[in-house]
């Protein structure tokens, strides 16, 4: 009864932060009400603590930035929880992840199969439980992945990967093809699962920040910023506006070099190497700029607890020059009719599909969804020139155009940020470590990166849960491939450009 009252009050008052203790039996209804009220399920994380397993469901909405956590405590000896898979697709995958790593049994899950751990991991051994013990020996049946059979006259199967002809991360793709048309595609990931969340546990803050920068190499700022924000919230550290401006500069610089590289790579995938060569030249210029700003080409070391440190800021003239160079690149790509023909209508992800799967970032905005954590969970004041870039077709061209326009918006935002006065080195007071928990959300170039940290008694870092936007977007790739031909797959895949490291963790 008390829970019922709380939920009603919560939805009318809409506080910035709230934690709601929730019994197993009340979970489904609470989740349904939050989703109905427009909240997005951003994270589901479990934590093993002696006799209990704590499950946290993080719901976010904005603007204004609101984060509501539902907390359910389970008996660690037999953890069972009602599944909310029928309410939210992403939840079904979070539940499978918890089932693999913690042995939490989601009751009523429609398709409870392994997700994170491949088939050769022994049954009943859950590596994130504190009583898991040393790693037992692996089973040999590494190939026993339950691919759904696709049968019919003329259908044949193409297995691709996990080792590819180019230097890219590992993923296995299984295609069922009729002629050249893809009937069905299934991606098998988690080949680079390295237990990175567990590596955070019990470590000091310096080590943890260093690790956060390396979760996904191309998202050093997004992940370290989300992590640092989560730690600051947990420890009650206030961050001033100047530090946040410097952090925003880093976040946009990261978006720039990645989007520019993607624009070139998309052209390269349709055999237009000229545009790629131009894009790589521009990317190199941006990496050199990054190096002068932070001392690291991939922007490591700029964000730290309580502040941020930059060496220099890009000048407005340099930003304008980069914009000119980028516009030439985009004009070159657009002037090639074969390139535009290859992009147009290829790999369509409809707005309904994107919404149903909870897709975020560039992919979602190309399908017509508006969500952008820079607006919904803002940490810096945005100029009037800032706007969210969207398209409504959801094909490769839309994702290409969203990237192109976001580069422009980023450059304008940067021009505004660098014109604000203030020091380049902002350091907070010495952080006092204590018990607590917090969340951090940063709109990286792929989409919103979410971290949740928990400090146990004595201020020991006892749990870090990481959600990369790729985790939400990977299931969308097979949907976008329906009616696509096999030779267009690499192009569609590149237009999504999802992270393997960020997904596999």
């Amino acid at each position: 009864m008390s829970h019922e009252l709380n939920m009603t009050r919560l939805l009318s008052e809409r506080p910035r932060r709230a934690v709601l203790e929730c019994g197993s039996d009340e979970l489904i209804e609470s989740v349904a009400r939050l989703l109905e009220a427009g909240f997005r399920l951003a994270l589901v994380g479990a934590r093993h603590d002696e006799a209990v397993i704590e499950i946290v469901y993080l719901f976010v909405d904005g603007p204004p930035d609101q984060r509501i956590e539902l907390r359910v405590l389970l008996d660690a000896r037999q953890p069972r929880i009602p599944s909310i898979a029928h309410l939210n697709y992403s939840a079904s995958r979070f539940e499978r992840e918890m089932y693999d790593l913690f042995g939490v049994q989601p009751i009523g899950h429609p398709q409870l199969r392994r997700l994170v751990l491949h088939q050769h991991w022994p049954r009943g051994w859950h590596p994130m439980r504190h009583d898991a013990g040393p790693q037992p020996s692996m089973n040999a049946d590494a190939d026993a992945f339950p691919f759904a059979p696709v049968e019919g006259p003329g259908i044949y199967e193409i297995p691709v990967g996990p080792v590819h002809a180019g230097v890219i991360e590992p993923g296995h793709f299984r295609f069922w093809v009729l002629g050249e048309t893809i009937v069905r595609m299934k991606a098998r990931l988690w080949f680079v699962h390295k237990g990175i969340e567990r590596l955070f546990e019990g470590r000091d803050l310096d080590f943890a920040l260093n690790l956060a920068e390396k979760i996904s190499g191309d998202s050093a700022v997004s992940h370290s910023l989300a992590f640092v924000q989560a730690v600051e919230e947990a420890l009650g550290v206030e961050v001033g506006p100047r530090a946040n401006e410097l952090r925003a500069v880093l976040l946009e610089l990261e978006r720039l070099y990645n989007h520019v590289a993607d624009v070139g790579a998309l052209c390269n995938d349709v055999g237009f190497g000229l545009a790629n060569a131009r894009a790589l030249t521009l990317r190199e210029r941006l990496l050199t700029l990054n190096d002068s700003v932070t001392g690291h080409r991939l922007l490591r070391g700029g964000v730290h607890y309580g502040g941020a440190t930059l060496r220099t800021l890009p000048t407005r003239e340099e930003l304008e020059d980069i914009a000119t160079q980028f516009h030439e690149l985009v004009a070159l790509a657009r002037s090639n009719s074969i390139v535009m023909d290859r992009f147009t209508g290829t790999g369509v992800l409809t707005i309904d599909q994107a919404r149903d799967l909870g897709v975020l970032g560039v992919v979602a905005r190309a399908s017509g969804l508006h969500d952008d954590a820079r607006v919904s969970q803002p940490f810096v004041e945005l100029p009037a020139s800032f706007h969210r870039v969207t398209r409504d077709v959801g094909d490769v061209l839309s994702r290409f155009e969203v990237r192109c326009d976001e580069v422009d918006v980023s450059l304008r935002l940067l021009a505004d940020l660098v014109s604000r006065e203030g020091p380049l080195d902002v350091r907070g007071d010495e952080v006092e470590i204590r018990e607590g928990h917090g969340t951090g959300i940063a709109e990286g170039w792929r989409g919103a990166v979410v971290h949740r940290v928990h400090f146990g008694p004595g201020g020991i870092l006892s749990r870090v849960k990481i959600v990369d936007p790729s985790f939400f977007a990977w299931p969308a790739l097979p949907l976008a491939l329906s009616d696509t031909i096999v030779p267009d797959f690499p192009l569609v895949n590149k237009s999504f450009n999802l992270s393997y490291a960020g997904n596999d963790l």
Partner: protein, 319 residues
């Protein structure tokens, strides 16, 4: 005595043509890559890099898939052998090559086709999905190219009243008006489209891609390594030079050695090198500014080639 000298000269000319094409093939690849690199603002590898690559590949250990049969090993050998055979008897350096009387345009095309077919079979022989995919795509393109090519040859043959290759080249030298005829021009345009498609160049296939699923030609040879791969690269590059050599000699025959003598053969080689390099560099420039067509758009391109050839044949008939 005179007969023996004649035979010896002919053998020497044949060997000379094969040697020129064998060295020229990899060098042409290197040249085309160099042109592309420079236009893209990159330094690029040296022009002789493909020759160095071949030396490396031929020194490597031979690896063959466990379940493959003799077809897999025969593919590269037959590919090179067919190109060598047609090179020896075709008017590349000399307008009077050995066995010139039997050097028929139709025969040459079908001998070359033998190499392509065996390569497609050896790709199937490995039993991998990529091999099958590459073979299927390659044969589809081949099936669309052949009609255009045959009609193009027909157009030239009708106009010159012979399908004998040396005669087709010589008629260009003695009667330049034949080259300027609509039949010859349309047929050669169609021939060029077929050359681009058959040798896996843009906009049909991207020779420098690493994306397995988009490959056509590269997908067929994914399982090859070492000397086998070296033979395939050599054979493919020789075929490109051979086809381009035929193209330029049919279009701009001047410079081809039309009488015996070391001087004329030397001049013939220089002319061939200059002409093939010019066409190869032009193709490379074209490739920089184009992109790869969607697979299902290829029939439109190749149908265009067929129409050109057909128009050529029609103008030849009604003349």
């Amino acid at each position: 005595m005179n007969g023996l000298t004649h035979v010896l000269t002919q053998v020497l000319v044949a060997l000379f043509q094969v040697a020129a094409v064998a060295v020229g093939g990899p060098l042409l690849l290197g040249l085309m890559r160099k042109v592309r690199s420079r236009l893209e603002g990159r330094a690029g590898a040296p022009i002789h890099q493909p020759l160095l690559d071949l030396r490396k590949l031929f020194a490597k250990q031979r690896m063959r898939p466990r379940d493959s049969s003799w077809v897999f090993g025969a593919g590269p050998v037959v590919l090179v052998a067919t190109v060598v055979a047609v090179t020896a008897v075709s008017p590349l350096v000399s307008a009077s090559p050995p066995l010139g009387q039997s050097s028929d345009f139709f025969a040459v095309v079908f001998v070359l086709l033998l190499g392509s077919v065996l390569l497609a079979l050896s790709a199937l022989d490995t039993g991998t999905a990529f091999g099958g995919m590459g073979s299927s795509r390659s044969m589809t393109i081949g099936a669309l190219c052949e009609p255009a090519l045959l009609v193009a040859i027909l157009a030239m043959a009708i106009a010159a009243r012979t399908s004998n290759l040396p005669a087709l080249v010589r008629v260009g030298i003695s009667h330049p008006a034949v080259i300027a005829s609509p039949a010859r021009i349309l047929a050669l345009a169609s021939f060029l489209v077929v050359i681009l498609a058959e040798s896996g160049r843009l906009p049909v296939d991207n020779p420098s891609t690493h994306l397995e699923l988009t490959m056509i030609h590269e997908a067929m040879v994914l399982e090859y390594s070492g000397a086998d791969l070296g033979l395939i690269i050599l054979g493919e590059s020789m075929r490109l030079v051979f086809l381009l050599g035929l193209f330029v000699n049919l279009f701009v025959p001047w410079g081809v050695a039309d009488r015996p003598g070391v001087l004329f053969v030397g001049l013939g080689l220089l002319a061939l090198v200059a002409k093939v390099c010019a066409v190869g560099a032009t193709i490379a420039v074209f490739e920089v500014f184009t992109a790869k067509l969607r697979l299902f758009r290829l029939p439109e391109l190749l149908a265009g080639g067929f129409v050109l050839a057909l128009l050529g044949a029609l103008t030849a008939v009604v003349r």
